[in-house]
Amino acid sequence: MGSKKDARGELVQGTLDMLILKTLTRGRQHGYGIAQFIKQTSDDVLRVEEGSLYPALHRLELDGLIDSEWGQSPNNRRAKYYRLTALGRKQLAKEAGNWGRLARAIAQVMGTA
């Protein structure tokens, strides 16, 4: 809503959800870790703002797609870790399928020119 949007790293709402879910397939992670992972794996292209990240995490938690628990971070700090639920896994599979079809379709259209 009020969050600033970076032209390079702007993420469509549903896409951010999908990326969060995908990140969590590698195991439990805290908010900062998720943002860092997405940034690094996308070679700094995708930058997740805290203003979008945390509301998205809480919404996913409310929807039951992810779960949370408090734990110790490697540097001995109290951190909130998120984990994928069975429901989230199913949702990810669906979204990944959709995404794949969409990406292929766009690539085909762009490739014809």
């Binding site: 809503m1 009020g2 969050s3 600033k4 805290h30 908010g31 900062y32 943002a35 860092q36 703002e49 805290e50 203003g51 945390y54 509301p55 809480h58 919404r59 938690e61 409310l62 929807d63 039951g64 408090w70 971070s73 540097n75 700090r77 109290r78 951190a79 909130k80």
Partner: protein
């Protein structure tokens, strides 16, 4: 759902949630600072993020509502006086409304489970000489049933009173409807137990059977299903129980039992004892059915002229015959009256809220100034009034439950149909909830809208004065008071006119000495007392047994009691002016024992009273009342004159007038009416259903048990009912008239009190607003009288406008009460004038205190204040 639960969980652990959010974001910031060396400043707006996350977890509207509720409760608790006064006023209003609604709606639940009762019709046949009898003969029934097309399946019934005895308990009297076997098919209802009547049941010579109402099955047989097939003696005839009808079913009106109507019960065209009814055929309306019956009647008149001269057949809606349906307008008027009381209470509370609004203007404007939306303010204030009205609703529910218990108890002694059920049911609760919420919105909306329009700037600056107390607030308040006055005048007039009716009823003399008279009712069954002489000898024996009891002076049988109905019959006078046989005059006919007038302590004005030999030997004798004599033989001595009754078109033997007695009240519809009456000696026309009246030297109630014992010593199976003193009997019949007077008086008094308080509040508020102005007037030489007039003039304006609008309305409303009026016409000017006067007086009283306060204003202090 899961999401809902999570939120609910979060709702209880708000602080935990807030702390977690805080920690989570701090962790992020620290990691950022550590790993990337970015300062916390580069972090996004933490508060906004937290807000966004928190909103996800919260039921925003629900929490706001909760907050509003808590605020409202606090506000109300801070002003306990205001809260108690409004809750009491509203609780009374809501309780009274729920009570009246429950009573009236149960009394109007006359459909008894009959399918589409509005499609049922009555068929009445009358001819030249029998115009006072609204019934038909069984022969007519068969004829009409065979011919009519527009009424599908015509049915017939007649009511009789029966004595029921069985092995279970004491014999009891019940009201029994003898019905044709198709009756319940016409009504569209089925028994809950056993079977319906079949055509085999109402053939001559059929096995006698019996159908029970649910309440008799429940009260007498304890809902025992084994009652089916058992034998019960009805008027000494053993009958097999074949079924039980559903609860509340007492078709056609207040039957306790049903037996088949056999054709041999009433043979011949001239014995008109049954009432006909049926269901309109599909697509047929009342006028069509009427026209067809008319054609059939004309055909009958030409083929059988000796029996059907001047035959008129009419078709009426069945509902017209139900007693309560008749007074439904009256009952609905009562519902409106009590509704008015609640409206006045609402207007009062609205005015109180408006007055408070002046004081709250500052609080509200501060809320607006720090960012509360107008919608939120309106909601906040509405929540407050709804909380108020819901608390009142809870107390109102208690009021309703208590008054319904009382109502139930008070009416339990009178016979009332079982479909009238005075208890809080689901409908009543829904009604209660609806009027509670409705009232809250009604009285809360106007003040809330006004306050939300507060001009923030001026309100904060001048401390709230003039904000809601401004000219528009004043006008709204005055308008509400005018509204209260209008409703009040309508209620006062209703009370006035019904009180006049009750006074007229109570002041109308019965014409007999009603004290120390015991009455009871018995019904001698035909099976046991088949001949006319049996009844006479039974009463001879009973009379001598009762008269030998200590404390009993004299005893007599009578066909009716004073203040009750007397059968009306056409008559002819000897040597009278030739009368059109189809328009004979009618008179009430009573059959009384020789000592009846001695029991009533009425002496003959002329001639003599009955002797024991009357009706047995000698010339047939008759006693008439003064009204009859004045009508029949004006200015002449009636003694020795002759008259004869006309029954079924046939003149009866001549009767000689032997005595003239004063008028006795025998019209139960209008106690002021003195009907012409004819008294016949009991031995001449013995009656099966008869009252026994006894003059006692001791309080009559002490003799009730001895009387019962004496009757049962003569006939063990004979039930005795309605044992009560004549005074009680008359009091009960008068109560029916005065009940409406009492109700209206209660409503009008509450309304008057509430309306005066409303007026007081408005005038007092305006005096306090005008303190400075009054001070100025005094300072420049205005006298106390001037000031008092100033205040009074302002107070009188709503009253005068209220009267101007309310009086014509009230006059119109009295027409709805017509059925309850005795000796007063609708629109009675005395009642209108009296209620206007009462309202003016209450108005003057209502503004006397503020006027006094205005006079005592100290000009110096007034000018200095603010």
């Amino acid at each position: 759902m899961n999401r809902f639960l999570k939120r609910l969980h979060a709702l209880w652990r708000r602080e935990q949630l807030d702390r977690d959010l805080q920690d989570e974001l701090r962790f992020h910031q620290e990691m950022q600072a550590e790993e990337e060396g970015v300062s916390a400043a580069r972090f996004g707006n933490a508060t906004a993020i937290k807000e966004a996350c928190r909103d996800l977890w919260a039921f925003t509207w629900l929490e706001a509502l909760w907050q509003d509720l808590r605020n409202a409760a606090r506000t109300l608790a801070r002003a306990p006086g205001f809260t108690i006064v409004t809750v009491v006023a509203l609780a009374l209003g809501i309780g009274a409304n729920t009570t009246i609604y429950t009573v009236v709606s149960s009394a109007l639940a006359f459909s008894m489970g009959v399918n589409q009762i509005e499609r049922l019709v009555f068929v009445t046949a009358t001819d030249a000489s029998r115009r006072d009898v609204d019934s038909d003969s069984y022969a007519d029934y068969l004829h009409f049933r065979g011919e009519v097309k527009s009424i599908q399946s015509l049915a017939a019934y007649r009511f009789i009173s029966v004595n029921v005895s069985d092995s279970i308990g004491l014999p009891e009297r019940y009201s029994c409807a003898q019905i044709t076997a198709n009756t319940f098919k016409v009504a569209g209802t089925k028994p809950v137990l056993g079977r319906d009547f079949t055509p085999d049941d109402d053939r001559p010579g059929a096995t006698p059977v019996l159908m029970l109402t649910y309440h008799v099955w429940q009260d007498r047989y304890g809902k025992d299903p084994a009652i089916l097939g058992k034998t019960v003696r009805v008027d000494e005839v053993p009958r097999t129980v074949i079924g039980v009808m559903p609860p509340k079913m007492q078709f056609p009106e207040d039957a306790d039992l049903w037996t088949p109507l056999l054709p041999d019960l009433a043979t011949g065209r001239d014995t008109r004892a049954v009432a006909l009814f049926g269901r309109l055929a599909n697509g047929v309306n009342l006028p069509t059915a009427r026209a067809e019956m008319d054609t059939i009647a004309h055909r009958l008149e030409t083929t059988v002229p000796e029996s059907y001269k001047g035959l008129i057949v009419d078709v009426h809606p069945f509902l017209d015959a139900i007693g309560i349906y008749d007074s439904r307008r009256l009952l609905i008027a009562v519902v409106f009256a009590v509704g008015f009381v609640l409206l006045i209470a609402c207007a009062d509370v609205a005015n109180l809220l408006l007055a408070r609004a002046a004081a709250r203007a500052r609080e509200i404007s501060i809320r607006i100034a720090i960012g509360a939306g107008r919608a939120r303010i309106i909601r906040h204030l509405l929540v407050e009034s709804l909380l108020l009205s819901c608390i009142a609703g809870i107390f109102g529910c208690l009021v309703a439950i208590a008054s319904l218990r009382w109502f139930d108890f008070a009416t339990s002694r009178s016979r009332r149909p079982s479909w009238i059920d005075f208890s809080m049911n689901l409908h009543a609760f829904v009604y209660l909830a609806a009027i509670s919420i409705g009232a809250g919105i009604l009285f809360g909306l106007a003040p809330a809208l006004r306050l939300a329009k507060v001009d923030v700037n001026s309100a904060v600056k001048d401390g709230g004065h003039g904000a809601a107390g401004g000219r528009r607030g004043q006008r709204l308040a005055s308008l509400l008071v005018v509204f209260e006055m209008v409703l009040c005048i309508v209620l006062l007039t209703g009370a006035g006119i019904t009180i006049r009716s009750s006074i007229n009823t109570y002041n109308s003399p019965i014409g007999v000495n009603t004290s120390n008279v015991l009455t009871l009712h018995i019904n001698l069954p035909e099976a046991k007392y088949p001949r006319a002489g049996d009844e006479v000898s039974f009463h001879r024996r009973l009379q001598s047994k009762l008269e030998s009891l200590p404390g009993v002076e004299v005893v007599s049988p009578a066909s009716s009691l004073p203040s009750m109905w007397a059968q009306s019959l056409p008559y002819e006078l000897e040597n009278g002016p030739p009368a059109d046989p189809s328009h004979l005059p009618t008179a009430g006919r009573l059959v009384v024992g020789a000592d009846y007038f001695r029991v009533m302590q009425v002496s003959a004005r002329r001639g003599r009273l009955f002797a024991d030999s009357d009706g047995i030997s000698g010339e047939p004798a008759v006693v008439v009342n003064q009204n009859f004599a004045a009508k029949g033989w004006p200015g002449e001595d009636p003694i020795g004159k002759r008259l004869r009754l006309v029954r079924g078109g046939a003149p009866q033997p001549w009767l000689t007038v032997v005595g003239l007695v004063p008028d006795i009240q025998q019209n139960f519809r209008n106690p002021l009416e003195r009907d012409p009456l004819i008294y016949l000696p009991y031995a001449a026309e013995p009656q099966r259903m008869v009252f026994i009246v006894a003059r006692t030297a001791v309080p009559p109630s002490t003799l009730a048990e001895p009387f019962r014992r004496e009757v049962q010593s003569l006939d063990e199976g004979l039930p005795v009912f309605d044992v009560q003193s004549l005074e009680d009997h008359i009091a009960t019949s008068r109560l029916n008239v005065s009940a409406f007077g009492i109700l209206f008086t209660i409503f009008a008094s509450i309304a008057l009190g509430l309306a005066s308080v409303g007026l007081y509040a408005v005038v007092a508020h305006s005096v306090s607003q005008r303190t400075r102005e009054i001070g100025v007037r005094m300072a420049v030489g205005g006298s106390s009288r001037d000031i008092a007039i100033l205040v009074l003039r302002q107070a009188m304006r709503p009253i005068v406008i209220g009267l101007a609008v309310g009086l014509p309305l009230a006059a119109g409303v009295t027409f709805a009460l017509r059925a309850a009026l005795v000796g007063v016409a609708p629109g009675d000017p005395v009642s209108l004038a009296a209620s206007a006067l009462v309202l003016l007086l209450a108005g003057v009283l209502g503004c006397a205190i503020p006027a006094r306060r205005a006079i005592r204003i100290d000009p110096v202090a007034a000018l200095r204040c603010d």
